[in-house]
Amino acid sequence: MTGGTVGDGSSPAQRAPGPAADPAYWRGVAPDPHADRSLAEDASPEAVARLRARSRALLTDVLRPHRARLGAAVALLLAQNAAAMSGPYLVMLGIDRAIEPLRAGRPGPLVAVAVSFAAAAGIEYAARRGFLTLSARIGQAVLLDLRQRVYAHFLRLPVAFHERYTSGRMISRLTSDIDSIAELVDGGVESLVMAALTIVSVAGILLWLDLPLAAVTLLAFPLLFWLSRWFARASAAAYRRTREAMALVIVHFVESMRGIRAVQAYRREPRNQHIFASVNDDYRQSSQHAFRLIATYSPGIKLIGNVTVAAVLCYGGARVLGGDTGVGVLAAFLLYLRRFFEPMQELSQFYNSLQSATAALEKLAGVLDERPTVAEPGRPVPLPRGPLRGAITFRAVSFGYRPDAPILAGLDLSIPAGQTVALIGPTGAGKSTVAKLLARFHDPAAGTVTLDGVDLRQVADAELRRTVVLVTQETHLFGGTVAENIRFGRPEADDAAVEAAARAIGAHDFIAALPDGYATEVHRRGGRLSAGQRQLVAFARAFLADPAVLILDEATSSLDVPTERLVQHALGTILRDRTAVVIAHRLSTVETADRVLVLDGGRIVEDGPPAELIADGGRYAALHRQWRDSLL
């Protein structure tokens, strides 16, 4: 007896396998090997290199429209720098050339110096302000571009992609990853340009000052190069791990907040806390590791610089003692050497931000690289116009969510325009799959689904959605008012049309009774509406959309019987001249259908008008009898 054991206690020997804290245990094994990433993110070195190249290309691509602005920003930066550099020079000028004349009673040179100084300060102010404003503009524009590109691509990607990728990961890409790119964008340009500028110019001066000493300095370069290469490799891997760890934190966070009712009702809090602490700690460790790399790299650069200074000091001192060079040259060389290594620090910081941003960009590039498998046709075929539209044909359609588990195998089905067809059968028979293929959530693995003779793959998305609407059991309400949610079905509809749609399916009464009527905010995922009420709103939305083909997949399951009856009554009128595919466990809907299809194991086992099937005494007849008995 199966039920009895549940009540009994079970021996502790029959414990769940695996240690509870092991993520591999609680997360389970994903049926899809690509569950945790986009297809482009592969562990093989070639894939990593390819993705890295692609992320750099993406960066170039988003920067391209800003070339002119970037040029202007660099020019402003140079102007600012020149003005700033002129300060000490003017001080020198003032001291050397203005004091003597002043003693002689001629304030002219000092005034000239003071005026130049004021002018330089003014230029520096304007250039700095201009540069910072411009670079903020460029940075924000790049972020805006990236956000919108990735978001738009997420919308294009098929349902199947989202099912494996999870919403938490999508959120992570569009928030946390973008944030780490923002860090680069915020200060990157300035430090890169300034550092490069200083290093190049100072290197020139060093070479010009004393060639042998400069050669000693150049000995530091292989070391710098070697250190940077180590850092580049190590930090790329480290930041990649950081991004993935953060995505897991976000996935777990979002899901547990969304399911908070179940969490609390089942006292899941401690276990959740445990899991959260472990993913959070993973993130802590991975970012600590990444920070430790830069904590090593940056002082490493400093160390190389300082050792070089000491070496130059010895060698240069010896050269001066040997009479090969002048004291003044050594002094100047040492001063410039310092200015040579200082920007290296900035550069290492920039490099660090670049590595972190690149890891994030890789993730975004991976998403952008994902092909929308259920793609819009390149050259769409328009659907034929006519009074009676909506003929559907499935020709030898095979489909499965996993290759090894086909749901449909060679399904043939033809529904003439205007017919109302009821699909019934046990769960897992493939009813919802038929609905999803018809709404083109997926494309068939083999065979074709056609609408009015046109393969769905050749119909433009906008036209397809105007023609075919699928209403499922899961009713999603978007943030906004009830009216806005109904209007989602037809954005250009006016208030009267929205209300008429609600009236038509019997939702008007409850909506009117809400605090603000149609203007009531539904809050988060329809928090305050009951499941039945949400289904009514979703129904009104579908009616407003007024499609030629309406697919209802268990769309009335949460309604009470009279309300459902009301909806069905409305359906009777509304479906009169359109094609409808109705999936319902409650056979009341089925009775009004023109035709009933009984599906089992992905095949049609019975097909005919309901009355005929009942008379034939097959499966439908049995189900019908059972259902009849369950009614009052």
């Binding site: 805006l144 006292r267 809090e269 897992g428 999603h476």
Partner: protein
């Protein structure tokens, strides 16, 4: 705060307290790392000192041994420079190494705490706060805080110390000019203060908008199918564009504010330098100052430029940290409305008889004026199965959610074996009550983990039995059996499959009171019958409260209660109510209502609907 749950994220303009107050309140997270922090501060200051010393030594080499042709002295001093250089690098390494562990550790601790607190807050809080807003608090806001703790705070201290040190040296060098430089701190302070105020508002706006964007993304992910079904991608993209555009605009405004201030801050030391130069030159000309002194003064003064230049950035960082702290504290300050009373009772499963009683229970959702329940009186006897029936939106699900105390009653009380639910320890109550919700919530975890949500210690046989009862053995046929990770929200399963898993989960808890909200609505007739007969056997041992829509499911119940207008208008066996209560018959009857039903509108117009274009 009202009802202990605080306002939603919309209440953004509260009474202004000190802008840094909330940042200061987070200091206890710093305490475990206080020693590390003092070390890294010390190391940082020492590294700076070493960094300043290196060029001084180099200068001395040039002035001393080189000029005096003293080779031994040269190597000695060069050795000193090398040592200082090594020390500087080592100290920087120590600072950054220590920092890397302490700042991320603090970030992780705060994140854990916020998560723990959010888990304690009741569903009514989560209904009001979009999870995107909560998410941005534990991601973006926390990294802002981390950046402030690892860089902003350190450079604030370092720069202040440098500034003060240099100014003191300047005053000692030349009191009048030194005081002039010191006075330049006044405009700096004024600019910084003004900037701080404006930036505070901008950074808060930006963080809120980041939360809005996260919310939109989350909602898109949730409503993806609906979006696809209606082809409303362009509409959502437009909405997202508007939201990110707002974020962009705030970012640009923030950048502009920072640009203006940074440039102004830069102007102050420059102008001071100009004044010093003119006044100094005049003083030299007048013979009150030597050229050497003026040169020394000016070169020292040049050391002030970097600390001032970075001031704008540091203040910006500090303000962002302050508003981030505000946002985090807003969540942490929200007191959980549903908590254990000071004195609570824990009931053992074995001692429970399971008499559940609603006494004049009223309830309304926070922020609404119309009550959902207006005085519900209802008793479920031990071992009894009671079904609640009512029209769509009559408050059935609300009534059920009061039993595991997901919401608390407004007035009246609910008792279990005579104990007010609020007197029971929450954990104990929720151990006794198991709920299967109308929408089965599944997590992207293994099937096993999803099933054992309320019974982590369940054995394999128990799980098997629960699955068998719910006709959910399909779980074993998944590619990895019970180890298979379910798709998010279990969306790769059909509605009926998800519902059966949720039922198995509830039954597995072996509760004293089983609460099922329309548990079989997505099942086909055949499966429903099989589940019902299995469920019937289990229900004998426990008290059960069900919401049902279909007459077929009512067969499970011993008695039925009709919920109408927030009250129980009739209770009794199904057959009896059917015969005597017309309203009851109307709610369940599939026949076009013979009895006038309050929810029935005047009837659809017969001439078709105006909205339908034919």
């Amino acid at each position: 705060m009202a009802a202990g749950s605080g306002g939603g994220p919309a209440d953004r303009g509260e009474i202004r307290r000190h802008p840094l107050r909330n940042l200061w309140r987070l200091r206890h997270y710093l305490r475990p790392h206080a020693v590390e922090f003092s070390w890294l501060m010390l190391a940082g200051l020492a590294a700076t000192a070493a960094g300043i010393a290196v060029p001084l030594v180099a200068q001395r080499v040039v002035d001393g041994p080189v000029a005096e042709r003293d080779l031994a002295g040269l190597f000695q001093l060069a050795g000193l420079a090398l040592l200082l250089g090594l020390a500087e690098a080592l100290l920087i390494f120590i600072r950054r190494w220590v920092q890397s562990s302490s700042s991320v550790a603090m970030e992780a601790t705060i994140r854990d705490d916020v998560y723990a607190h959010l888990q304690r807050l009741p569903p009514s809080f989560h209904d009001r706060w979009p999870s995107g807003q909560l998410l941005s608090r534990i991601t973006s806001d926390l990294s802002v805080l981390r950046r402030f703790l690892s860089f902003g705070l350190f450079f604030l201290v370092l720069n202040l110390v440098t500034y003060l040190g240099v100014v003191v040296l300047l005053i000692r060098l030349h009191p009048a000019l030194g005081l002039l430089v010191a006075a330049s701190a006044v405009p700096l302070f004024l600019i910084a203060r003004r900037f701080g105020r404006h930036y505070h508002a901008a950074s808060r706006r930006m963080q809120d908008q980041q939360g809005d964007v996260a919310t939109l993304v989350e909602e898109t992910a949730q409503g993806l199918r609906t979006m696809k079904a209606y082809g409303r991608g362009p509409q959502l993209a437009a909405r997202f564009a508007a939201s990110t555009r707002a974020l962009h605009d705030t970012g640009v405004a923030k950048g502009r504010l920072l640009a203006r201030t940074a440039a102004r801050l830069d102007l102050v030391p420059n102008l001071t330098l100009g004044i010093v130069l003119v006044a100094g030159a005049a003083a030299v000309a007048a013979g009150r100052l030597t050229v050497g002194q003026l040169v020394a003064f000016v070169s020292l003064q040049l050391m002030l430029i970097w600390p001032v230049q970075s001031l704008g950035w540091i203040i910006a960082n500090g303000q962002e940290a302050a508003t981030a702290a505000d946002r985090i504290q807003e969540v942490l300050d929200t007191a959980p409305a549903i908590v254990d009373a000071p004195v609570t009772v824990a009931l053992a499963r074995s001692t429970i008889r399971g008499r559940l009683r609603f006494e004049a229970v009223t309830f309304r959702y926070p922020g609404t004026t119309t009550p959902v329940l207006r005085g519900v009186d209802l008793t479920v006897e031990p071992g009894e199965t009671l079904a609640v029936v009512g029209a769509t939106g009559s408050g059935k699900s609300t009534l059920l959610s009061l039993v595991p105390r997901l919401h608390d009653v407004g007035t009246g009380r609910i008792t279990l074996d005579g104990h007010d639910l609020r007197d029971l320890r929450l954990a104990s109550l929720r151990r006794l009550v198991a709920t299967a919700f109308e929408e089965p919530t599944l997590f992207s975890m293994s099937v096993w983990e999803n099933l054992t949500l309320g019974r982590p210690d369940a054995g394999e046989d128990e799980v098997r039995a629960a699955l068998a009862l719910a006709q959910a053995e399909f779980a074993y046929d998944l590619p990895w059996g019970l180890r298979t990770r379910l798709g998010e929200q279990g969306l790769s399963l059909s509605g009926g499959q998800r519902q059966r898993l949720a039922l198995a989960r509830a039954v597995l808890v072996r509760p004293a009171v089983l609460v099922l909200d329309d548990p079989l609505s997505a099942l086909d007739v055949h499966t429903e019958a099989a589940v019902e007969s299995a469920l019937k056997r289990v229900l004998r041992d426990m008290t059960a409260l069900l919401v049902v829509h279909r007459p077929s499911t009512i067969a499970l119940a011993d008695r039925v209660a009709l919920l109408e207008h927030g009250r129980i208008s009739a209770v009794g066996p199904h057959a009896e109510l059917l015969a005597t209560v017309p309203a009851y018959r109307a709610v369940l009857s599939a026949e076009p209502a013979a009895v006038p039903h309050p929810r029935l509108p005047a009837g659809p117009p017969t001439g078709g609907f105006p909205l339908v274009r034919s």
